[in-house]
Symmetry: C2
Subunit: 197 residues, 2 copies
């Protein structure tokens, strides 16, 4: 891992890097990686195409930066939410709510993490996968702490819950059920389910 080169001087106040990241996140989310051109992005920040390459070596590196920020934001939201709870069940529910709120209403960055597949950007794919995995580690712990009925596979539980949450991106419409409501229902479906035979 390369050390961040210590800059000879500090960044300038009129630096438009944050703006580039914001617009890239917005467009990658709405149109996908391949569906968004470099010119789409720079047009949104009133720049010329070549200027982007002062900040990033490639378009894929820009995606990686957006991705990293997305993971950072979800992680922060979830970590904050569970820190206020002690009971494992409550912690799980709080995590689901925070995850879904970050995913559905808060941040374009977070949605990019769900929408864009690592395979879309081969040169940074390994990094994107690592970012995703780091985040999922958080969930491994949450599920590990649960008291479960005998024979319940914890990995399956985690994958089912996260999958259902992530997929909600495809059918969620704002103004109807809130992310919080959806998340609560999903958790509840795991405790009063089909009913015993």
């Amino acid at each position: 891992m390369p050390l961040a080169a210590r800059p000879a001087r500090l960044p300038r106040a009129d630096n438009r890097l944050p703006l580039i990241l914001d617009e890239a996140a917005r467009l990658f989310r709405a149109q996908g990686f391949h569906g968004t051109s470099v010119r789409d992005i720079v047009r949104a920040v009133d720049m010329l195409p070549g200027s982007l390459y002062y900040h990033f070596p490639t378009k894929e590196a820009l995606l990686a930066a957006v991705y990293a920020e997305g993971v950072r934001r979800i992680s922060e939201a979830v970590t904050g939410a569970i820190s206020r709870k002690r009971d494992p069940r409550e912690r799980l529910e709080a995590a689901c709510i925070a995850h879904l709120e970050a995913l559905l209403q808060e941040s374009d960055y977070a949605q990019v993490v769900i929408r864009v597949l690592p395979a879309d950007a081969p040169s940074v794919a390994a990094e994107l996968v690592r970012l995703r995995d780091d985040y999922e580690t958080l969930w491994v712990g949450l599920v590990q702490d649960l008291r479960l009925a005998r024979g319940v596979d914890r990995r399956s539980l985690r994958l089912m819950l996260l999958g259902a949450l992530n997929w909600s991106q495809t059918w969620y419409r704002k103004g109807r059920d809130s992310p919080r409501t959806i998340a609560k229902r999903f958790v509840q479906l795991l405790q009063e389910p089909l009913g015993r035979e």
Copy 2:
């Protein structure tokens, strides 16, 4: 809805249209819609780019054809599977297994339906959404027949289950747990869940 124009003559035996669909499905699945060029597709069937436009008016129309075939295959698999069961619970499980097997191992076509978003192809987006919705209607019926504990929201149950199944495309690796095993575990998680308080 336009009537299928009655052809002046029957299609020829050396028609390569099926081959085009197969390769388009394979590539759309692996690289996405925007990530796959017309030249990628015709190269795979040893054709020239322009020749594709004898069969389809646009690249998006080709996607729509692949999409329709994908929905047809999943629907057929699921319909066949549930027709052999009577008990609502067993029918649901059979549907999950068939859905996941079609999605994970059987058909590139089916995976395109999950991977490619309607918004990627604006001119046919409405048609793609309609195809998806038609298929989901099948699941509405399956969930409707279930006997459930009080207060369980059937729509949430359907969305959670289908979401978890569809998302498995992102983490599934063949050679490990089979689609059948995964589907069974997910259904089971709905009946012996977190355990009552």
